[in-house]
Amino acid sequence: MLKEYAQILILMIIVFGFAGVTLLLSSLLGQKKKSDTKLMPYECGIDPVGTARQRFSIKFYITTMIFILFDIEALFLYPWAVIYRRLGVFGLVEMGVFILLLLVGFIYVWKKGAFEWD
């Protein structure tokens, strides 16, 4: 049984070896000219304006959470769409129930005011 994992082990050795050798060589051979700009944290090319460790509004959290929920809903539609024909009416009904449940949830968060920013 362990033999089957030997391939993974070999792959791991190659991956770590490749990464290790690359890093080692570049640190040995590469030139190092340190400047303020180079040592700055990389933030998409813009100069950082302050610490990133600050409190965020809880509203971001709610928005993100709802986004993930409906994101995953969309994700579930893909495998269903791929074998849609083979699942037939049963699959259609199942998916209908699934989306209906999420619709109830959607109406719920809407009415509770989760989409209002203020």
Partner: protein, 482 residues
């Protein structure tokens, strides 16, 4: 492609509960604030429907969903128990929901979904289903624990429970993974067969998996030394949810415990019985000894629930038809008496849980005679005084332990039971012998009265006429004895 066999009636109880949850969450938007009580009644109605369905479902040992789910008599016993607990919890929360600032619709929905999780744990014939049920119930309970808006303790409770619970779930899952690694299956029956076939009694992979599984379940059952979250969470959560955790979650987790250890791992019992022996002893002792020094009644009941988990563990160690049935009987007795005690804490706690110190109970006995007498009966039953439910439960558990030759365990258990008498009696003494320190005005409402009457009738009936329940308990463990 073939679609696996789907047997809808086998999960009818769950479907009814989920439909009710969807209805409740929908009506929450429509119903005016003043009429939110109707949501509670709708929840109870749905649960009653589920209860009736579970009671009339006579499929026997039907196995559905490709062997993932079963509807045997064991499941039926615990389904009735758990749905009953959920009904009582819903009823007892209605008054505090009316008084407090909690979101009513979400509360009932989460209780319903937590119940579904518990039922899945009981029904699962596959470790994955059991884990799925555990997660469904846990996530709902994490939220419910933090439901007292604005109360810092409640937020602390939810956060603590969530972090530690997530950690424990990882243990459980890792245990399942290792067991799968050792036996090549996650089916309860399959594991037992493979262990018998390959004689895996000393297989380190399997034993490690079982150990991790024990940690994960031990956390949910609040066994010592996995109990440290219990007092804080029980104290911070809304009292009705505390009752739900102490009774419902424990019943479901013990059912999974019996299913896994009794169903999948009986052949390596010689390995886990010693561990459980030690766990039972320290769980009982720590629970009872620490309960002695509590001044908050919710914390006291939390430690008492730890101790009771220890007693139930004794029944599991004893095993055999007597032991297993004693476990189920005890779960029932514990449900009645503990829900009763918590019901009074909910009722007396009043707005925002103002009266949860034991000292606040001074004078309850003569100012509210019915409430005082009921509380005294529940506490006596928890202490194990005859002729109440708690006594019969302990009697069956300890006699099973003696029959299986665990004399010392029984002695330790009985001694623990004696220790526990002190702190249960102290509350009674304070209720009847001390002058009240503050004025508490209580108004009986219909739901809380129903709760107290059901709990009282159950506590007394299970003590005086235990046969009805014992026969059903015996009937529901036939699959274990074989």
């Amino acid at each position: 492609m073939t679609i696996p066999d789907v047997n809808w009636t086998s999960i009818g109880t769950e479907l009814i509960l989920i439909s009710t949850a969807v209805l409740v969450i929908f009506f929450d938007l429509v119903v005016k604030d003043k009429k939110k009580d109707s949501l509670g009644y709708l929840t109870v109605l749905g649960m009653l429907g589920a209860l009736v369905f579970a009671m009339t479902d006579k499929e026997g040992t039907a196995i559905a969903f490709g062997g993932m789910i079963t509807n045997d008599s064991f499941t039926q016993f615990l389904t009735v128990l758990i749905v009953g607990v959920a009904i009582i919890v819903t009823l007892m929360s209605m008054q505090s929901l009316r008084e407090g600032s909690m979101d009513v619709g979400g509360y009932h929905t989460l209780v319903l979904l937590a119940t579904v999780g518990m039922l899945l744990m009981v029904k699962g014939l596959d470790l994955i289903i059991i884990f799925l049920g555990l997660e469904t119930l846990s996530i709902a309970i994490y939220v419910l624990a933090g439901y007292r808006k604005g109360a810092e303790q409640s937020a602390e409770a939810a956060f603590k429970y969530f972090l530690l619970g997530a950690f424990a779930a990882a243990f459980l899952l890792y245990g399942i993974a290792l067991i799968y690694g050792a036996t090549g299956t996650t089916r309860i029956e399959g594991i037992a067969q493979y262990i018998a076939l390959k004689n895996l009694g000393t297989n380190p992979l399997l034993l490690l998996g079982v150990g991790l599984l024990l940690v994960g379940l031990g956390f949910k059952l609040a066994l010592v030394p996995f109990h440290s979250w219990t007092p804080d969470v029980y104290e911070g959560a809304p009292t009705a949810i505390t009752a739900f955790m102490a009774v419902g979650v424990k019943a479901a987790a013990f059912a999974a415990f019996v299913r896994i250890f009794g169903g999948a791992l009986p052949l390596i019992a010689f390995q886990w019985k010693d561990v459980l022996w030690m766990l039972a002893v320290i769980t009982m002792t720590v629970g009872n000894v620490v309960a002695l020094s509590q001044t908050n009644i919710k914390r006291m009941l939390a430690y008492s629930s730890i101790a009771h988990a220890g007693y139930i563990l004794v029944g599991i160690i004893a095993g055999g038809s007597v032991g297993w049935s004693a476990v189920l009987y005890y779960l029932g007795a514990y449900a009645f008496m503990n829900l009763g005690a918590f019901g009074i804490v909910v009722f007396y706690g009043y707005k925002q849980e103002a009266n949860v110190e034991i000292a606040d109970y001074a004078g309850l006995g003569f100012r509210y005679p019915f409430l005082g007498a009921a509380m005294a009966i529940f506490l006596f039953s928890l202490a194990g005084i005859p002729p109440l439910a708690g006594f019969m439960g302990k009697f069956y558990i300890f006699s099973a332990a003696i029959k299986s030759g665990y004399i010392w365990l029984t002695i330790i258990g009985v001694m623990n039971s004696l220790v526990s008498v002190f702190y249960y009696f102290r509350v009674t003494v304070i209720m009847y012998m001390k002058e009240p320190i503050k004025e508490v005005v209580l108004n009986y409402s219909l739901p809380i009265t129903i709760v107290l009457i059901i709990a009282l009738v159950g506590t007394i009936q299970m003590g005086i006429a235990p046969n009805f329940y014992l026969e059903r308990a015996l009937d529901s463990i036939k699959w274990l004895i074989g």
